[in-house]
């Protein structure tokens, strides 16, 4: 079985990010790391291939400055190879262009039985790239999976909903987006990191993939305005007078979580 995972490389969330005031997009000039959201997808893919008794996990990523640090982490976890699309012409690409580029990268790898992405990235969290990719690739799209298995060539997923979850079955090939926590991502081992050093990363430009137009020219969306997020309001402190559990229950009910 072959599984391709979309791997976004993002600025380290521990170091505060900044917007480029000229374009209102996120600055990505420092070192990038594997988006934790995608670590789940990589782990899921490795487990599915394992359960299938063999096969390969491949990666696709679009990132500036030939960045591979996040890909290396995913390769160290056990993926076999990657396609990296890195191209100054991609500057200013919106989510649809990203989806087209990633879809073309999937095709460059010869397609797969299953393509996995995260439901949303940790830095951009548009939450639309996977569905758009599925459309471009002509694949069925299963979203918000919190549990995934493949049984007799059929994809079975528990799909998170507001009320609970749906049990979904789907033929392969397909594209699925998985939620954080779908599986527990492994830490790369020392041997895995060493092996990752010699795993192939095929770096290409948008033009190599035949995707045009890209960047600002290709963007169907524009960023018209950005505003400061509202400061987080102070929490409410409930003094326990022996009856305060009632207030907590009411609070949780207000949030519709119970």
């Amino acid at each position: 079985m072959k599984v391709i995972v979309c791997v976004k490389q993002i600025p380290d969330p521990a170091t505060p990010g900044a917007l480029d005031p000229s374009s209102n997009t996120l600055k990505r000039d420092g070192k990038l790391i594997l988006d934790e959201s995608d670590a789940y997808g990589v782990e899921m893919a490795l487990q599915l291939v394992d359960a299938a008794g063999g096969g390969e996990v491949n990666l696709v990523s679009m990132a500036p400055n030939s960045e591979t640090a996040g890909l290396r982490t995913a390769l160290a976890m056990g993926a076999a190879k990657a396609v990296l699309v890195s191209d100054p012409a991609l500057q200013g690409s919106d989510a649809l262009t990203t989806a087209k580029v990633l879809a073309a990268a999937v095709q460059r790898l010869g397609g797969a039985d299953l393509v996995i992405a995260a439901t949303e990235s940790s830095d951009g969290y548009t939450g639309t790239v996977p569905e758009q990719m599925a459309e471009v690739l002509g694949l069925p799209s299963v979203t918000f999976a919190k549990k995934v298995a493949i049984d007799g060539g059929v994809l079975k997923a528990d799909r998170q909903t507001e009320a609970g979850y749906d049990e979904v079955t789907c033929s392969l090939p397909a594209l699925i987006s998985v939620t954080a926590g779908v599986v527990e991502p492994r830490y790369p081992s020392f041997k895995g990191i060493m092996a990752a050093k010699s795993k192939p990363v095929d770096e290409v430009k948008a033009s190599d993939l035949g995707v045009t137009p890209v960047g600002w020219a290709g963007a169907g969306q524009t960023i018209s305005n950005v505003a400061q997020a509202e400061a987080r309001a102070a929490g409410e402190i409930i003094e326990d007078d022996g009856e305060s559990f009632g207030k907590i229950v009411a609070f949780l009910e207000g949030l519709k979580v119970i």
């Binding site: 521990a14 160290a76 830490y187 081992s189 020392f190 990191i193 060493m194």
Partner: protein, 590 residues
């Protein structure tokens, strides 16, 4: 995840720019990789230690370990799982021989990993640390069969190791060991006796425990010349490598301690049922010599504990100082209380911690680099000089490193004010944990005696002289930079004082009372001037590579060098009086 973040930038700087990682990697016998691989290793290891090991630090402190009625030990919740993850990830293997499944990396890289592991959780790190010591001894002195039997599983961490030196009447004086070993007709030995304070002597994290035990054969000469070293596995090993019957060694009690609560400190009883089966390492009566070959590495590792706890405590103190508001700092608007970090006195404490940690990182990593050159350089002369320099630096790393560990974690408590003294913030734990490191692996008093008694005399004093000359040479280079001129002057002044103390000690080499009386203040003098030298040298290196490291790093390096040399180092110059002072006064008082 806790808030500990491995200081990868400074680690990278020290490995590559200060200690010449590329040059060390190119020595014969190491894996053929470039330094970018080490960068990858460090960042993944850091993530693992930060996320998986660091959160257990407090859990371990609160829960400690429990000895069960059957003598087994239950470690703190989460420790078994985290240790298994550590073994699966293979971090313990990195600095060992590829022939036995090791990674083939330099010791210095192992030391960098160890810094992070120890910051994450010192009590946890004791298990791999002791294993490392036992591996080292077997690697250097074990038979081929012993190496094949034990090393692969110890290098993965599936089996852990211990070092059994201490007994009730044999602490600093290892020569007083009384545990006995009786040779059997089949060539094995039966070991009987009691060992105390054995770290990870019993636990539930590994499948087997390989004890290295110092003992005496019946006809052994007294003192250190009559000590032999034995491998005593908790479970005997079957010919096919599987685990066999339980050996006659048991944990009869476990200590309640000031710190490192999650590290079981055991009283081990050997031979309650007739004798534990032991296997001699090398030859009889040469155990002490074997211990000495691994001593540099083990002592360096303990020195590193001072750095690791200092670093973690610094990060915590810095965060607290930014949040806690109290009083009005100079220049702050009226009617507003300032974050305490804006008070000059708090800044002084923070900066003292920061630069002392940086100095310790440079000292310990450099010490490790010397060990690497000593073990791997193709040229015998280079090897011997490096070995002697490593020998000189080791008591500084261990003694000064752990003294600073206590002082720096103490400052972190101070910065927290009352909150530092209550346990809630967790900062008190670092202070309590740091306290043991000045005691074990040879007390710091013993380190100082080792320095003046053994190390100063190396090659008739030529080794320390070369080291001091290198500092003098660096000072003349530092002086050429106007912003570092004051620092260079301070370095020369401290060097002068240290030279005086050194010469005085050399002149009194035949007068043990004078030598021993001045040992501890001298260790501090030599360490401090060495630290000033390393920080000044770092500033020059940063400036030389400004284009690659960036101006902000240059500015940071210059500030560190200046603060240490101008404001911290001079305090140790005054110790010359303590080194050369009247020993009779010391002895006749009290």
């Amino acid at each position: 995840m806790t808030d500990y973040r491995a200081p990868l930038h400074d680690i990278d700087f020290v490995l590559n720019r200060v200690c010449g990682l590329d040059r060390i990697l190119s020595l014969p016998g190491y894996i053929e990789v470039d330094s970018s691989v080490v960068r990858d290793l460090m960042s993944e290891a850091a993530r693992f230690m930060e996320e998986k090991v660091a959160p257990l630090n407090r859990v371990g402190d609160v829960h400690g370990v429990k000895r069960n009625a059957d003598g087994s030990i239950t470690t703190a919740p989460g420790f078994i799982e985290a240790y298994q993850a550590y073994v699966d990830a293979g971090w313990g293997a990195v600095p060992f021989d590829m022939g036995f499944g090791g990674g083939g990396f330099p010791w210095m890289v192992g030391v960098a990993l160890q810094e992070i592991l120890t910051s994450a959780n010192m009590a946890f790190s004791m298990c791999p640390l002791l294993t490392q010591g036992a591996i080292d001894a077997i690697m250097h002195h074990g038979s081929e069969e012993q190496k094949m039997t034990y090393l692969p599983k110890m290098i993965t961490g599936e089996w852990s190791g211990t070092m059994n030196l201490t007994e009730p009447d044999a602490g600093s004086d290892v020569g007083a060991v009384r545990t006995r070993a009786l040779r059997q007709p089949d060539g094995t030995y039966l070991v009987t006796g009691t060992k105390i304070y054995i770290s990870f002597g019993e636990h539930d994290m590994a499948d087997n425990i390989v004890h290295l035990v110092l003992a005496r054969t019946p006809d052994a000469p007294p003192g250190t010349k009559g000590i032999s070293c034995f491998i005593v596995p908790k479970f005997l090993i079957n010919p096919d490598g599987s685990l066999g019957r339980r050996n006659d060694v048991s944990c009869v009690s476990v200590e309640h301690k000031l710190g490192i609560h999650a590290s079981p400190t055991c009283v081990l009883s050997y031979g309650d049922q007739g004798g534990a089966v032991g296997y001699l390492i090398g030859e009889e009566n040469r155990g002490m010599q074997y211990m000495f070959t691994m001593m540099n590495q083990a002592r360096l590792s303990v020195g590193l504990q001072g750095l690791s706890l200092g670093e973690r405590a610094y990060q915590q103190a810095l965060r607290y100082a930014r949040e806690r508001r109290q009083g009005r700092a100079p220049g702050a608007p009226a009617g507003e209380s300032s974050p305490i970090i804006d008070h000059p006195d708090v800044k002084r404490m923070l900066l003292t911690m920061k630069v002392t940690n940086e100095a310790l990182r440079r000292l310990t990593y450099w010490n490790a680099a010397c060990i690497d050159v000593a073990n791997h350089h193709p040229d015998a002369t280079e090897r011997e000089w490096a070995a002697d320099l490593a020998a000189l630096l080791t008591p500084l790393s261990k003694g000064w490193g752990t003294d600073m560990g206590v002082e720096m974690t103490g400052l972190a408590v101070q910065i927290h004010g009352g909150m530092g003294f209550v346990e809630e913030t967790g900062v008190a734990q670092h202070y309590r944990d740091a306290r043991i490191a000045t005691i074990y692996e040879g007390t710091n008093g013993i380190q100082a005696i080792d320095l003046v008694g053994r190390k100063l005399g190396l090659r008739g004093g030529e080794v320390v002289k070369r080291h001091l000359d290198a500092i003098a040479e660096a000072a003349t280079r530092v002086k050429k930079h106007p912003d570092l001129a004051e620092a260079a002057k301070a370095l020369e002044t401290s060097l002068q004082a240290t030279r005086r103390a050194t010469e005085w000690l050399m002149a009194h080499a035949t007068d043990p009372l004078s030598m021993l009386s001045g040992a501890t203040p001298y260790l501090r003098m030599l360490s401090t001037v060495t630290a000033g030298f390393l920080l000044a040298e770092s500033a020059l290196i940063a400036r030389e590579h400004a284009a690659e490291v960036g101006e902000s790093v240059v500015a940071e390096r210059v500030a560190s060098a200046r603060f240490f040399c101008e404001q911290l180092m001079p305090a140790s110059d005054g110790l010359v009086g303590a080194v050369t002072g009247d020993a009779q006064l010391l002895m006749s008082s009290i």
